[in-house]
Amino acid sequence: MKKIILLLFISLYLAAPAFAEVKIAATLPWIGSIAGEIGKDRIAVTTLIKPNQDPHFAEAKPSMILAARKADILMYNGLDLEIGYLPRIIESSNNPKIQPGKRGNLDCSQFIEPIEKPSSVDRSMGDVHPLGNPHYHFSPKNILKVAEGMAVVFSEIDPGNAAFYRSNLQMFRDRLKKKQRLWSALPLKGKRYIAYHKLFEYLGREYGFHIQAYIEPKPGIPPSAGHIEELLELLKKTRIDAILATTTAGKKEAESLTQKTGVRSVVLPQDVGATETAKDWFGMMDEVLKALQ
């Protein structure tokens, strides 16, 4: 019996594929998608949060701890978005490579310029992120910086493939430039929207549209009847081009506002993989920007 168990364990150990690739654990799907653009087949990415899950409310599942234990690099959004589960995953992973301060601990927000950093904050304001708006993944400008940062870190950890990563980064840069030309041709300047959560602020700054109000009265707090009344008033008084919900939040509220006012509502992917067209980061951006027109 003991021999059989021992054999079983040994075979399970051997069953793990022999890999030369850099193993990456990414908290969010978009991080995995950008990493894939830079690392292609030389990396193996495991994504901890599924596209249909809200990153604000995730829990440290044992399978996430296991992925972190095996990772060479742990990549995360930062700006406190993963504060509810990531510190625990990192500690429980028993993996020295991904501890804070190590090269394998990659906070993608270090490469970007956060917006909406509040000067003072307390929790009576709701779930405000004190380091700034953490949803920079809809920002082409910032995503390019993240991709550049990833290429540097990949080259440091896997110097043999540095040239490969550099040429992939150049390809990404070229593709992004072409796309940006298409995206900036879209008539988004001066448009006004109502959104559920503060997700599209970076994009609005880059493409000149404005989020007039939020369905959430405060970040993370579901809307009260009074707040919905205020939104209805606003929709009557001002021209609002659309009400924005995502696949994980605000669909019901947006639909009911549409029924009452006739202002169209749009359901957008909140991350890569949340809809069929949002297969990768470019697909997600295409879908979001087209829907905003």
Binding site: K50, P62, S63
Partner: protein, 447 residues
């Protein structure tokens, strides 16, 4: 600007004085010379002022640019240091305070509650007072010590003072999936034991833990080693060496040195993207010297506690989830029971078991749960001097709770217990209204 004003003034005054040119040329020329001299002086003075002003302006400008240059360098650094753990942890550790307070009511009177023990298991009664109770204001401190250790401390402050409930380090840099924890900590035996009371899904601890380890669970001084295997599914193996001071299971005077040891394993699979199971066995063994068995008697011997845990979680979105959780515990005890009144000693063998099964359903900010507790489920041996004692019916309890969580930092919970633990057929109907609030650093949610 000022220079131009001065020039304009000179030209105006010159033209005005030239217009007045006429009768007495000599005196007028003198007057003109004087005014010119005076004007020259004022021009000199004003130039000096202008130079001073320019210098001042230059100084303030360099200060400003220095300021803007500093900011972009500082900001990314600050993000790097704090993006994971919140506010800066360099000068202060992360601190949070959790208030756990509740109102309690029961159909039994004060004396009946004090004497309400679980015969055959524990002599301890109910400590809750009818009316308002303060469980504790619990202070948590944590921060990385250096690149090799993290430090945690839990200091519940109660009306009786503050105590160090937990204070331990955890290694972060051991290779091959190993980790060492040392200090005073909650044992990783089973599932609910390592959770803090405010994180439980019900106000009170399950009966099995109350009967076998006391209402606070097993918190011990000692060391723990865990190994997270690289198997394709999550498997954590662990061992603990503990001082063995738990008043019910072991007792500080059972042996001078460490005298309790734990082994545990936890395995977990994701059945789908939204559902996960976690299960595993635990065992804890050690020497025992306690007077908790029954009033007026002391026990000396050895105890072994076996446990099996099972948790199923389904969480398709943030608005909805189901948790099903159960633990089965089996305790064997062998030794001598000494009656401290009659001064008689007899061998005592106890082999008892029990389980709890609970489920919690969450919809938006509301959670509703049910729990069933039972002792003496399959085994109810209390063999004193060769004779199995009969204490009556199986102790059991059924609980229902309803929670409202305005945010993840606040919780209001109503709980009802139908308690049949005294084995005498008498029911205690308990009602709790609990308030849990947390402020300060954001703790991570365990699975």
């Amino acid at each position: 600007m000022k220079q131009w004003a001065v020039l304009l003034f000179i030209i105006l005054s010159l033209s005005l004085s030239s217009r007045a040119y006429g009768a007495d040329i000599e005196s007028r020329l003198k007057a003109l010379e004087e005014t010119l001299l005076q004007q020259g002086k004022t021009i000199e003075e004003q130039r000096k002022v202008i130079i001073e002003l320019k210098e001042e302006l230059r100084n303030t400008r360099t200060e400003e640019t220095a300021g803007t240059e500093k900011k972009p360098i500082e900001e990314p650094k600050a993000q790097k240091a704090t993006g994971l753990f919140g506010a800066s942890a360099l000068t202060n550790p992360n601190i949070s305070l959790v208030l756990n307070t509740f109102a309690y009511s029961s159909n039994l009177n004060k004396k009946e509650l004090e004497l309400r023990n679980i015969p055959g298991y524990t002599a301890a009664g109910i400590e809750n007072r009818k009316g308002f109770n303060l469980d504790s204001a619990e202070l948590f401190l944590f921060a990385p010590v250096d690149p090799y250790f993290n430090l945690y401390a839990t200091i519940p402050v109660t009306e009786n003072g503050a105590e160090v409930e937990e204070a331990y380090f955890v290694t972060t840099s051991l290779p091959y999936g190993f980790q060492v924890k040392g200090g005073k900590f909650k044992s990783s035996f089973g599932r609910i034991n390592s959770q803090h009371p405010h994180a439980w899904d019900f106000v009170d601890i399950p009966l099995v833990y109350k009967a076998f380890s006391g209402p606070e669970g097993i918190t011990e001084k000692g060391a723990q080693l865990t190994y997270l295997t690289p198997l394709p599914f999550y498997t954590l193996l662990g061992a603990e060496a503990l001082q063995g001071e738990n008043a019910i299971l072991f007792g500080p005077d059972a042996k001078p040195g460490p005298h309790a040891y734990t082994l545990f394993a936890k395995a977990s699979f994701d059945l789908t993207d939204n559902s996960t199971i976690l299960f595993g066995p635990s065992v804890m063994a050690g020497k025992t010297k306690t007077d908790s068995v029954t009033a007026g008697a002391g026990f000396r011997g050895a105890s072994t506690l076996y446990g099996l845990e099972f948790t199923y979680k389904w969480k398709p979105s943030k608005t909805q989830s189901i948790i099903v959780q159960s633990e089965y515990l089996y305790r064997r005890q062998n030794g001598d029971l000494e009656n401290t009144v009659a001064l008689t000693t007899g061998p005592l063998k106890r082999a008892q078991d029990g389980l709890y099964l609970q489920t919690v359903y969450q919809l938006n900010r509301w959670r509703a749960g049910a729990r069933y507790d039972v002792l003496s489920l399959f085994k109810d041996d209390y063999i004193l001097a060769g004779a199995n004692q009969d204490f009556g019916k199986k102790p059991w309890r059924a609980s229902g709770m309803l929670e409202f969580n305005p945010t993840e930092f606040s919780r209001i919970r109503l709980q009802y217990n139908h308690d049949k633990t005294a084995r005498d057929g008498k029911t205690s109907q308990e009602l709790f209204l609990q308030f849990v609030f947390g402020i300060g650093a954001h703790g991570a949610h365990p699975f």
